[in-house]
Symmetry: C2
Subunit: 197 residues, 2 copies
Protein backbone atom coordinates (compact mmCIF):
# COMPACT_ATOMS: atom_id res chain seq x y z
CA UNK A 1 0.00 0.00 0.00
CA UNK A 2 1.31 3.41 -0.86
CA UNK A 3 -0.04 6.84 -0.16
CA UNK A 4 -3.18 8.20 -1.79
CA UNK A 5 -1.99 10.27 -4.74
CA UNK A 6 -3.80 13.03 -6.56
CA UNK A 7 -2.67 14.24 -9.97
CA UNK A 8 -4.02 17.73 -10.26
CA UNK A 9 -3.52 21.17 -11.74
CA UNK A 10 -3.85 23.95 -9.15
CA UNK A 11 -5.46 26.27 -11.70
CA UNK A 12 -8.36 23.81 -12.09
CA UNK A 13 -11.40 24.09 -9.86
CA UNK A 14 -12.18 20.43 -10.58
CA UNK A 15 -8.80 19.51 -9.07
CA UNK A 16 -9.11 21.88 -6.13
CA UNK A 17 -12.40 20.21 -5.15
CA UNK A 18 -10.44 17.06 -4.34
CA UNK A 19 -7.74 18.97 -2.46
CA UNK A 20 -10.29 20.85 -0.32
CA UNK A 21 -12.09 17.63 0.49
CA UNK A 22 -8.95 15.80 1.58
CA UNK A 23 -7.73 18.75 3.62
CA UNK A 24 -11.16 18.99 5.24
CA UNK A 25 -11.19 15.28 6.06
CA UNK A 26 -7.62 15.49 7.34
CA UNK A 27 -6.65 12.59 5.11
CA UNK A 28 -2.98 12.38 4.07
CA UNK A 29 -2.22 12.42 0.35
CA UNK A 30 0.48 13.24 -2.14
CA UNK A 31 -0.31 15.94 -4.72
CA UNK A 32 1.44 15.69 -8.07
CA UNK A 33 1.12 18.96 -9.93
CA UNK A 34 0.13 18.08 -13.49
CA UNK A 35 -0.10 21.02 -15.87
CA UNK A 36 -2.95 20.97 -18.36
CA UNK A 37 -1.43 23.89 -20.27
CA UNK A 38 1.94 22.11 -20.37
CA UNK A 39 0.50 18.98 -22.00
CA UNK A 40 1.23 16.89 -18.91
CA UNK A 41 -2.20 15.21 -19.11
CA UNK A 42 -1.43 13.98 -22.63
CA UNK A 43 1.82 12.12 -22.04
CA UNK A 44 1.79 8.34 -22.65
CA UNK A 45 2.49 7.74 -18.95
CA UNK A 46 -0.49 9.82 -17.86
CA UNK A 47 -2.83 8.40 -20.51
CA UNK A 48 -1.96 4.91 -19.25
CA UNK A 49 -3.37 5.98 -15.86
CA UNK A 50 -6.36 7.88 -17.28
CA UNK A 51 -7.26 7.23 -20.92
CA UNK A 52 -9.54 10.28 -20.80
CA UNK A 53 -6.45 12.49 -20.40
CA UNK A 54 -8.05 14.58 -17.68
CA UNK A 55 -7.17 15.76 -14.19
CA UNK A 56 -7.95 15.31 -11.37
CA UNK A 57 -6.95 11.69 -11.17
CA UNK A 58 -6.75 9.91 -7.83
CA UNK A 59 -4.54 6.85 -7.47
CA UNK A 60 -5.83 5.04 -4.42
CA UNK A 61 -3.68 3.41 -1.76
CA UNK A 62 -3.92 0.05 -3.57
CA UNK A 63 -2.77 1.58 -6.85
CA UNK A 64 -6.13 1.67 -8.60
CA UNK A 65 -6.94 4.89 -10.50
CA UNK A 66 -10.14 6.90 -10.28
CA UNK A 67 -11.07 9.86 -12.48
CA UNK A 68 -13.85 12.48 -12.69
CA UNK A 69 -13.74 15.02 -9.88
CA UNK A 70 -17.24 14.36 -8.59
CA UNK A 71 -16.81 10.58 -8.63
CA UNK A 72 -13.58 11.04 -6.65
CA UNK A 73 -15.40 13.26 -4.12
CA UNK A 74 -18.16 10.66 -3.70
CA UNK A 75 -15.67 7.86 -3.17
CA UNK A 76 -13.35 9.66 -0.78
CA UNK A 77 -16.16 11.21 1.28
CA UNK A 78 -18.03 7.95 1.78
CA UNK A 79 -19.13 7.66 5.40
CA UNK A 80 -18.47 11.33 6.16
CA UNK A 81 -20.96 14.04 7.11
CA UNK A 82 -20.48 15.61 3.67
CA UNK A 83 -22.88 13.00 2.25
CA UNK A 84 -26.41 13.31 3.70
CA UNK A 85 -27.79 10.26 5.48
CA UNK A 86 -31.28 10.59 4.01
CA UNK A 87 -31.89 8.98 0.61
CA UNK A 88 -33.71 11.98 -0.88
CA UNK A 89 -31.13 14.50 0.28
CA UNK A 90 -28.39 12.25 -1.10
CA UNK A 91 -30.21 12.13 -4.44
CA UNK A 92 -30.58 15.94 -4.48
CA UNK A 93 -26.86 16.25 -3.78
CA UNK A 94 -26.19 14.00 -6.80
CA UNK A 95 -28.64 16.04 -8.90
CA UNK A 96 -26.61 19.18 -8.17
CA UNK A 97 -23.33 17.39 -8.90
CA UNK A 98 -24.51 16.17 -12.31
CA UNK A 99 -26.01 19.58 -13.04
CA UNK A 100 -22.65 21.15 -12.18
CA UNK A 101 -20.81 19.11 -14.77
CA UNK A 102 -23.50 19.54 -17.43
CA UNK A 103 -24.91 23.04 -17.02
CA UNK A 104 -22.43 25.04 -14.94
CA UNK A 105 -18.82 23.94 -15.52
CA UNK A 106 -18.99 23.98 -19.35
CA UNK A 107 -19.89 27.68 -19.23
CA UNK A 108 -18.61 29.22 -15.99
CA UNK A 109 -15.29 27.33 -15.98
CA UNK A 110 -14.77 27.64 -19.72
CA UNK A 111 -15.30 31.43 -19.65
CA UNK A 112 -12.67 31.72 -16.93
CA UNK A 113 -10.26 29.43 -18.75
CA UNK A 114 -10.53 31.39 -21.97
CA UNK A 115 -10.09 34.76 -20.29
CA UNK A 116 -7.57 34.01 -17.58
CA UNK A 117 -5.48 31.26 -19.16
CA UNK A 118 -5.88 31.75 -22.91
CA UNK A 119 -5.79 35.54 -22.67
CA UNK A 120 -9.02 36.29 -24.53
CA UNK A 121 -10.85 39.49 -23.74
CA UNK A 122 -14.08 38.75 -21.88
CA UNK A 123 -15.90 40.97 -24.40
CA UNK A 124 -14.81 38.52 -27.13
CA UNK A 125 -16.35 35.42 -25.54
CA UNK A 126 -19.17 33.75 -27.45
CA UNK A 127 -22.47 35.40 -26.44
CA UNK A 128 -24.07 31.96 -25.96
CA UNK A 129 -21.32 31.00 -23.51
CA UNK A 130 -21.88 34.13 -21.42
CA UNK A 131 -25.64 33.70 -21.52
CA UNK A 132 -25.46 30.08 -20.35
CA UNK A 133 -22.92 30.96 -17.66
CA UNK A 134 -25.23 33.63 -16.25
CA UNK A 135 -28.21 31.27 -16.47
CA UNK A 136 -26.28 28.81 -14.29
CA UNK A 137 -25.21 31.50 -11.80
CA UNK A 138 -28.75 32.88 -11.64
CA UNK A 139 -30.17 29.44 -10.91
CA UNK A 140 -27.58 28.91 -8.18
CA UNK A 141 -28.39 32.34 -6.74
CA UNK A 142 -32.04 31.30 -6.44
CA UNK A 143 -31.11 27.94 -4.94
CA UNK A 144 -28.83 29.64 -2.42
CA UNK A 145 -31.48 32.12 -1.32
CA UNK A 146 -33.12 30.02 1.42
CA UNK A 147 -29.61 28.92 2.56
CA UNK A 148 -27.47 28.00 4.32
CA UNK A 149 -26.32 25.26 1.91
CA UNK A 150 -27.70 23.68 -1.26
CA UNK A 151 -29.05 20.50 0.35
CA UNK A 152 -30.27 20.34 3.95
CA UNK A 153 -28.63 22.34 6.70
CA UNK A 154 -25.04 21.23 6.34
CA UNK A 155 -22.29 21.58 3.77
CA UNK A 156 -22.31 18.62 1.34
CA UNK A 157 -20.37 17.55 -1.72
CA UNK A 158 -22.85 19.56 -3.82
CA UNK A 159 -21.52 22.76 -2.25
CA UNK A 160 -17.91 21.70 -2.79
CA UNK A 161 -18.58 20.84 -6.44
CA UNK A 162 -20.41 24.06 -7.18
CA UNK A 163 -18.28 26.52 -5.25
CA UNK A 164 -15.16 25.55 -7.19
CA UNK A 165 -15.87 27.61 -10.31
CA UNK A 166 -18.55 29.92 -8.89
CA UNK A 167 -16.04 31.63 -6.61
CA UNK A 168 -13.67 32.41 -9.49
CA UNK A 169 -16.36 33.32 -12.03
CA UNK A 170 -15.23 37.00 -12.05
CA UNK A 171 -11.89 35.83 -13.50
CA UNK A 172 -13.91 34.98 -16.62
CA UNK A 173 -15.53 38.40 -16.69
CA UNK A 174 -18.71 37.09 -15.06
CA UNK A 175 -19.81 39.73 -12.58
CA UNK A 176 -21.27 38.26 -9.38
CA UNK A 177 -22.61 41.63 -8.19
CA UNK A 178 -26.24 40.82 -9.15
CA UNK A 179 -26.16 37.58 -7.16
CA UNK A 180 -26.18 38.50 -3.48
CA UNK A 181 -27.42 35.14 -2.23
CA UNK A 182 -24.84 33.34 -4.33
CA UNK A 183 -22.04 35.50 -2.92
CA UNK A 184 -23.18 34.91 0.65
CA UNK A 185 -23.33 31.15 -0.02
CA UNK A 186 -19.81 31.18 -1.50
CA UNK A 187 -18.61 32.82 1.72
CA UNK A 188 -20.30 30.16 3.84
CA UNK A 189 -18.84 27.28 1.82
CA UNK A 190 -15.37 28.85 1.87
CA UNK A 191 -15.64 29.19 5.64
CA UNK A 192 -16.88 25.62 6.10
CA UNK A 193 -13.98 24.27 4.06
CA UNK A 194 -11.41 26.82 5.27
CA UNK A 195 -10.66 27.77 1.66
CA UNK A 196 -8.13 30.57 1.34
CA UNK A 197 -6.80 31.93 -1.89
CA UNK B 1 -48.79 8.84 -1.56
CA UNK B 2 -49.35 8.85 -5.29
CA UNK B 3 -47.66 6.93 -8.03
CA UNK B 4 -44.08 7.54 -9.07
CA UNK B 5 -44.28 9.90 -12.06
CA UNK B 6 -41.71 10.51 -14.76
CA UNK B 7 -41.90 13.53 -17.03
CA UNK B 8 -39.97 12.53 -20.13
CA UNK B 9 -39.60 12.97 -23.85
CA UNK B 10 -39.41 9.66 -25.71
CA UNK B 11 -36.94 11.11 -28.22
CA UNK B 12 -34.45 11.76 -25.40
CA UNK B 13 -31.94 9.10 -24.43
CA UNK B 14 -31.62 10.75 -21.03
CA UNK B 15 -35.33 10.14 -20.47
CA UNK B 16 -35.29 6.60 -21.84
CA UNK B 17 -32.59 5.67 -19.32
CA UNK B 18 -35.14 6.16 -16.55
CA UNK B 19 -37.85 4.24 -18.43
CA UNK B 20 -35.54 1.27 -19.09
CA UNK B 21 -34.47 1.18 -15.45
CA UNK B 22 -38.02 1.21 -14.10
CA UNK B 23 -39.16 -1.43 -16.60
CA UNK B 24 -36.15 -3.56 -15.66
CA UNK B 25 -36.88 -3.21 -11.95
CA UNK B 26 -40.57 -3.92 -12.57
CA UNK B 27 -41.49 -0.81 -10.64
CA UNK B 28 -44.84 0.83 -11.49
CA UNK B 29 -44.79 4.43 -12.67
CA UNK B 30 -46.74 6.95 -14.68
CA UNK B 31 -45.01 8.44 -17.75
CA UNK B 32 -46.01 11.94 -18.76
CA UNK B 33 -44.80 12.65 -22.25
CA UNK B 34 -43.22 16.13 -22.17
CA UNK B 35 -42.03 17.43 -25.51
CA UNK B 36 -38.78 19.35 -25.54
CA UNK B 37 -39.39 20.51 -29.12
CA UNK B 38 -42.89 21.67 -28.18
CA UNK B 39 -41.65 23.90 -25.36
CA UNK B 40 -43.33 21.74 -22.73
CA UNK B 41 -40.25 21.90 -20.48
CA UNK B 42 -40.44 25.71 -20.41
CA UNK B 43 -43.99 26.23 -19.17
CA UNK B 44 -44.42 27.93 -15.78
CA UNK B 45 -45.98 24.73 -14.41
CA UNK B 46 -43.01 22.61 -15.43
CA UNK B 47 -40.43 25.18 -14.30
CA UNK B 48 -42.07 25.16 -10.88
CA UNK B 49 -41.26 21.43 -10.69
CA UNK B 50 -37.78 21.73 -12.21
CA UNK B 51 -36.26 25.21 -12.38
CA UNK B 52 -33.59 23.83 -14.73
CA UNK B 53 -36.33 23.27 -17.33
CA UNK B 54 -35.03 19.83 -18.26
CA UNK B 55 -36.42 16.33 -18.62
CA UNK B 56 -36.32 13.70 -17.30
CA UNK B 57 -37.89 14.75 -14.05
CA UNK B 58 -39.08 12.18 -11.53
CA UNK B 59 -41.76 13.09 -9.03
CA UNK B 60 -41.45 10.57 -6.23
CA UNK B 61 -44.34 8.88 -4.44
CA UNK B 62 -44.26 11.56 -1.72
CA UNK B 63 -44.42 14.37 -4.28
CA UNK B 64 -40.79 15.46 -4.11
CA UNK B 65 -39.13 16.17 -7.47
CA UNK B 66 -35.77 14.85 -8.63
CA UNK B 67 -33.95 15.89 -11.81
CA UNK B 68 -30.82 14.87 -13.74
CA UNK B 69 -31.11 11.47 -15.41
CA UNK B 70 -28.11 9.92 -13.71
CA UNK B 71 -29.11 11.15 -10.25
CA UNK B 72 -32.56 9.66 -10.84
CA UNK B 73 -30.99 6.33 -11.86
CA UNK B 74 -28.82 6.28 -8.74
CA UNK B 75 -31.78 7.01 -6.48
CA UNK B 76 -34.24 4.58 -8.02
CA UNK B 77 -31.72 1.74 -8.36
CA UNK B 78 -30.53 1.96 -4.76
CA UNK B 79 -30.26 -1.53 -3.29
CA UNK B 80 -30.49 -3.25 -6.69
CA UNK B 81 -27.86 -5.35 -8.46
CA UNK B 82 -27.34 -2.50 -10.94
CA UNK B 83 -25.16 -0.76 -8.36
CA UNK B 84 -22.01 -2.77 -7.52
CA UNK B 85 -21.53 -3.75 -3.89
CA UNK B 86 -17.81 -3.01 -3.86
CA UNK B 87 -16.75 0.57 -3.12
CA UNK B 88 -14.20 0.79 -5.94
CA UNK B 89 -16.56 -0.66 -8.57
CA UNK B 90 -19.25 1.74 -7.38
CA UNK B 91 -16.81 4.63 -7.78
CA UNK B 92 -15.85 3.47 -11.29
CA UNK B 93 -19.54 3.31 -12.19
CA UNK B 94 -19.90 6.92 -11.01
CA UNK B 95 -16.77 7.89 -12.96
CA UNK B 96 -18.40 6.59 -16.17
CA UNK B 97 -21.69 8.33 -15.36
CA UNK B 98 -20.03 11.72 -14.86
CA UNK B 99 -17.89 11.15 -17.97
CA UNK B 100 -21.06 10.39 -19.91
CA UNK B 101 -22.61 13.73 -19.06
CA UNK B 102 -19.39 15.70 -19.60
CA UNK B 103 -17.57 14.03 -22.48
CA UNK B 104 -20.08 11.86 -24.34
CA UNK B 105 -23.62 13.29 -24.24
CA UNK B 106 -22.65 16.87 -25.23
CA UNK B 107 -21.22 15.51 -28.49
CA UNK B 108 -22.90 12.20 -29.35
CA UNK B 109 -26.39 13.26 -28.29
CA UNK B 110 -26.05 16.77 -29.68
CA UNK B 111 -24.96 15.50 -33.12
CA UNK B 112 -28.03 13.24 -33.22
CA UNK B 113 -30.34 16.04 -32.04
CA UNK B 114 -29.08 18.45 -34.69
CA UNK B 115 -29.35 15.92 -37.52
CA UNK B 116 -32.46 13.99 -36.61
CA UNK B 117 -34.57 16.63 -34.89
CA UNK B 118 -33.31 19.96 -36.24
CA UNK B 119 -32.85 18.61 -39.77
CA UNK B 120 -29.22 19.63 -40.27
CA UNK B 121 -27.12 17.63 -42.70
CA UNK B 122 -24.52 15.60 -40.83
CA UNK B 123 -21.88 17.03 -43.20
CA UNK B 124 -22.73 20.49 -41.85
CA UNK B 125 -22.09 19.69 -38.17
CA UNK B 126 -19.23 21.55 -36.51
CA UNK B 127 -15.99 19.58 -37.12
CA UNK B 128 -15.09 19.92 -33.42
CA UNK B 129 -18.40 18.31 -32.43
CA UNK B 130 -17.81 15.32 -34.72
CA UNK B 131 -14.22 14.96 -33.55
CA UNK B 132 -15.23 14.98 -29.87
CA UNK B 133 -18.09 12.56 -30.53
CA UNK B 134 -15.75 10.08 -32.18
CA UNK B 135 -13.20 10.52 -29.39
CA UNK B 136 -15.92 9.52 -26.91
CA UNK B 137 -17.05 6.54 -29.01
CA UNK B 138 -13.44 5.43 -29.50
CA UNK B 139 -12.79 5.54 -25.78
CA UNK B 140 -15.92 3.55 -25.12
CA UNK B 141 -14.91 1.03 -27.78
CA UNK B 142 -11.62 0.49 -25.95
CA UNK B 143 -13.36 0.23 -22.60
CA UNK B 144 -15.83 -2.30 -24.02
CA UNK B 145 -13.11 -4.49 -25.49
CA UNK B 146 -12.45 -6.68 -22.44
CA UNK B 147 -16.23 -6.90 -21.85
CA UNK B 148 -18.81 -7.94 -20.98
CA UNK B 149 -19.84 -4.66 -19.27
CA UNK B 150 -18.10 -1.43 -18.32
CA UNK B 151 -17.63 -2.20 -14.62
CA UNK B 152 -17.23 -5.72 -13.28
CA UNK B 153 -19.08 -8.67 -14.78
CA UNK B 154 -22.65 -7.43 -14.57
CA UNK B 155 -24.70 -4.68 -16.15
CA UNK B 156 -24.62 -1.52 -14.02
CA UNK B 157 -26.02 1.99 -14.23
CA UNK B 158 -22.87 2.97 -16.16
CA UNK B 159 -24.00 0.74 -19.02
CA UNK B 160 -27.53 2.15 -18.93
CA UNK B 161 -26.25 5.72 -18.95
CA UNK B 162 -23.82 5.17 -21.80
CA UNK B 163 -25.89 2.94 -24.05
CA UNK B 164 -28.66 5.56 -24.31
CA UNK B 165 -27.00 7.75 -26.91
CA UNK B 166 -24.34 5.31 -28.14
CA UNK B 167 -26.97 3.05 -29.70
CA UNK B 168 -28.52 5.90 -31.69
CA UNK B 169 -25.24 7.59 -32.65
CA UNK B 170 -25.75 6.69 -36.35
CA UNK B 171 -28.86 8.93 -36.34
CA UNK B 172 -26.38 11.80 -35.95
CA UNK B 173 -24.26 10.59 -38.83
CA UNK B 174 -21.75 8.95 -36.50
CA UNK B 175 -20.78 5.65 -38.08
CA UNK B 176 -20.28 2.86 -35.55
CA UNK B 177 -18.72 0.50 -38.12
CA UNK B 178 -15.15 1.08 -36.86
CA UNK B 179 -16.14 0.20 -33.30
CA UNK B 180 -16.75 -3.54 -33.19
CA UNK B 181 -16.35 -3.91 -29.43
CA UNK B 182 -18.70 -0.99 -28.83
CA UNK B 183 -21.34 -2.52 -31.09
CA UNK B 184 -21.08 -5.88 -29.34
CA UNK B 185 -21.39 -4.15 -25.95
CA UNK B 186 -24.47 -2.22 -27.12
CA UNK B 187 -26.05 -5.56 -28.06
CA UNK B 188 -25.29 -7.02 -24.64
CA UNK B 189 -26.72 -4.03 -22.77
CA UNK B 190 -29.84 -3.99 -24.95
CA UNK B 191 -30.31 -7.71 -24.23
CA UNK B 192 -29.76 -7.25 -20.49
CA UNK B 193 -32.36 -4.47 -20.36
CA UNK B 194 -34.70 -5.98 -22.98
CA UNK B 195 -34.50 -2.74 -25.00
CA UNK B 196 -36.42 -2.91 -28.27
CA UNK B 197 -36.86 -0.08 -30.68
Amino acid sequence: MSRLTVYGDSISGNCLKVKWLLDHLGRPYRWIETGVLDGETRTPAFLALNPAGQVPLAVLEDGRPLAQSNAILLHLAEGSALIPAGAYDRAKMLEWMFWEQYSHEPYVAVARFQVRYLGRASADLEPRLIERAHAALRRLDEAATPGPFLVGDACTLADIALVAYSRVAPEGGLDLAPYAALRAWIGRVEAALAIRD
